[in-house]
């Protein structure tokens, strides 16, 4: 059993470490008795100093950890007090039975709603697909500018691309949708733009990182045979990063299906709109039905993405 040997070896190693750690003390004890030379004494003093420093370091780290833990726990207590204890209208919520009753209204499925869900579900799916496509198209220049090794003019284009990535990821899709509804009006178009803007950040960031990690050999080879910048991009860089980028795009598409289902809240159509209509008419089983439909298209997306990612890699 090699496993037993390994464990035994590990234990032995541990003892070794322990002995080494105890070293300074034993050395100090031994040094005066056998009257060793100054050389050994200096060494043991140095070791002792190192050990002292290590111990102090450890103590400091332990204190630091304790402080962090205390702060975190205090923050929990404070947050629970402010957000849950004080801010909640306990009287209005009533007893646990009332809450369970309110939750119980969602149990059940409104089967009559199913035929009306096909069209919005398809719309949601399509908004996600087109949003991802548009995001990928906009991504190409952003990833190109944002990869340190190929960015055309580093002082300007690199920060510009980074800013674009952060902006895209830090603004929630609902906010993007609000903005685009104001610009292009209600409808699928606003949803597509919102999803595209929201997707740029992640796809571009992952693509730029993939491009930064490429093997520079093919790039040099294409340059050496006289390829221009565009040809280098197409023949040396793209083949190396395409499988990775496709994987990221499929992943983002999957998330976009999830996102497009809520864009109806701000008027971008699809299943979200049906969801809020059911909610506003207090048809709670209908709400559950819409949720099931959302789960259904997400499941389809997950299955497709599983196979697509396998094919891409």
């Amino acid at each position: 059993m090699p496993l037993v040997h390994e464990t035994a070896f590990a234990i032995q190693l541990d003892h070794e470490n322990l002995r080494r750690a105890r070293g300074p003390e034993t050395a100090e004890m031994n040094a005066p008795s056998n009257g060793a030379g100054t050389d050994a004494g200096a060494t043991s003093a140095a070791t002792a100093a190192t050990a002292d420093r290590l111990l102090a370091d450890r103590r400091r780290r332990r204190v630091g950890r304790l402080v962090i833990a205390t702060v975190l726990v205090a923050a929990v207590v404070w947050s629970v007090d402010v957000t849950i204890v004080q801010d909640t209208d306990w009287k209005r919520m009533g007893s646990l039975a009332n809450v369970l009753e309110a939750a119980g209204e969602f149990v059940g499925v409104d089967w009559g709603l199913f035929p009306d869900l096909a069209k919005p579900a398809l719309e949601t799916f399509m908004i996600a697909c087109l949003g991802t496509l548009l995001g990928v198209l906009v991504c190409i220049p952003v990833a190109w500018f944002g990869a340190l090794n190929i960015t055309p003019f580093k002082p300007v284009t690199y920060p510009l691309a980074r800013l674009m990535m952060t902006l895209s990821r830090s603004i929630h899709e609902i906010v993007w949708a609000l903005f685009f509804v104001a610009v292009v009006g209600l409808g699928a178009m606003a949803g597509i733009f919102a999803l595209a803007m929201r997707s740029i950040g992640f796809i571009a960031k992952m693509s730029a990182e993939a491009i930064e990690d490429i093997d520079p050999g093919p790039v040099e080879a294409i340059r050496a045979v006289g390829g221009n910048g565009f040809q280098v991009l197409i023949y040396a860089i793209l083949p190396q990063v395409l499988p990775q980028i496709l994987g990221v795009v499929v992943f983002e598409w999957e998330i976009n299906i999830r996102r497009s289902a809520v864009l109806g809240l701000v008027g971008a159509g699809g299943l979200g709109l049906v969801f809020f209509r059911q909610m506003n008419t207090f048809n709670f089983p209908g709400v559950t039905t819409v949720l099931l439909a959302i789960l259904g298209i997400i499941l389809i997306g997950e299955v497709v993405s599983h196979f697509a990612r396998k094919a891409a890699i």
Binding site: T88, D89, T166
Partner: protein, 282 residues
């Protein structure tokens, strides 16, 4: 997919064959898949009535809308005490939601990791289903559901973020546990440790650093979500945003969005720094 050269019959002239990465049936499937995807996208444009001709015009419109309505942002509006209270509340909501979510996601990750799950036939699919269900439903929908059950306030926001974070971190935790070295686990099992002891002494030391990193990242993601869950009445800055949107005070909306962007950027920097520190400890 099979890669490599097409097989050349002995005696055939090799340079007459065109080289392709994929052999005949695979290449056909590949092209068919691409054509199907493009066809579906074209069909979607048609189905959703996207006015392609108007898109160039829209950029012009976008600039003019920003210039005329959203500029300049009403910074004074967000500089008062009331708004700052909401910002603090948002941070607290994100913190609690991430914390509770992480608490749920650790068992979810354990049970949903194929190599460490107590029962591959019963517990594993259930844990996977829960993780997927938590993840599949958008945080806004969780917020709406909880608001309708519990009423307005921050509690539904915290719960919505909890569910969202549980799904988010549960999946990452499970993947992290599936990638561990099984040697220590086997060693623990060989010495007769029970399930819990194997987890604490065999698995946990291996994933501790990664879990901390994921935890910090989860907080970051939760904060981004927390800035908007108030939109449906779940507390925090989203409520302010909703009010400004409904009043069509576009300059205030611009200011609030600007403040969200700045706060998210700060949280991103903080989380990146904290993750780098944690990784260095490894």
């Amino acid at each position: 997919m099979s890669t490599g050269m097409p097989s050349v019959p002995p005696g055939a002239v090799a340079h007459q064959l065109r080289w392709s990465r994929y052999r005949f049936p695979d290449s056909l499937y590949g092209y068919a898949a691409w054509i199907a995807v493009l066809g579906f996208l074209a069909f979607s444009v048609n189905y959703l009535d996207i006015p392609l001709a108007r898109i160039p015009d829209m950029f012009h419109r976008m600039v003019s809308v920003i210039a005329s309505r959203y500029y300049p942002p009403d910074i004074e509006y967000i500089m008062d005490r009331d708004y700052l209270d909401y910002v603090v509340e948002t941070i607290q909501m994100a913190y609690l939601g991430a914390l509770f979510g992480l608490g749920i996601s650790i068992p979810l990750g354990w049970f949903g990791a194929f190599n460490m799950t107590p029962s591959r036939r019963f517990v594993y699919p259930v844990a996977r289903l829960f993780t997927m269900g938590f993840r599949a439903v958008h945080e806004m929908i969780w917020a709406i559901l909880f608001v309708s059950i519990l009423g307005f306030g921050m509690l539904p926001g915290v719960l919505a973020l909890t569910f969202f974070c549980a799904g988010f971190a549960g999946k990452l935790f499970a993947e992290e546990i599936e990638a561990i070295d099984m040697g220590p686990v086997e060693a623990m099992r060989a010495t007769g440790a029970n399930l819990f002891q194997v987890m604490v002494f065999g698995v946990f030391p291996q994933v501790r650093v990664a879990f901390t990193g994921i935890g910090i990242y989860t907080w970051d993601v939760a904060f981004r979500a927390a800035t908007v869950v108030g939109f449906v009445g779940a507390g925090g800055m989203g409520w302010y945003l909703k009010r400004a949107v409904l009043q069509i005070e576009t300059e205030r909306v611009a200011a609030i969005i600007l403040s969200i962007v700045v706060l998210v950027m700060i949280s991103e920097v903080v989380s990146a720094y904290a993750r780098a520190r944690v990784m260095k400890m490894k």
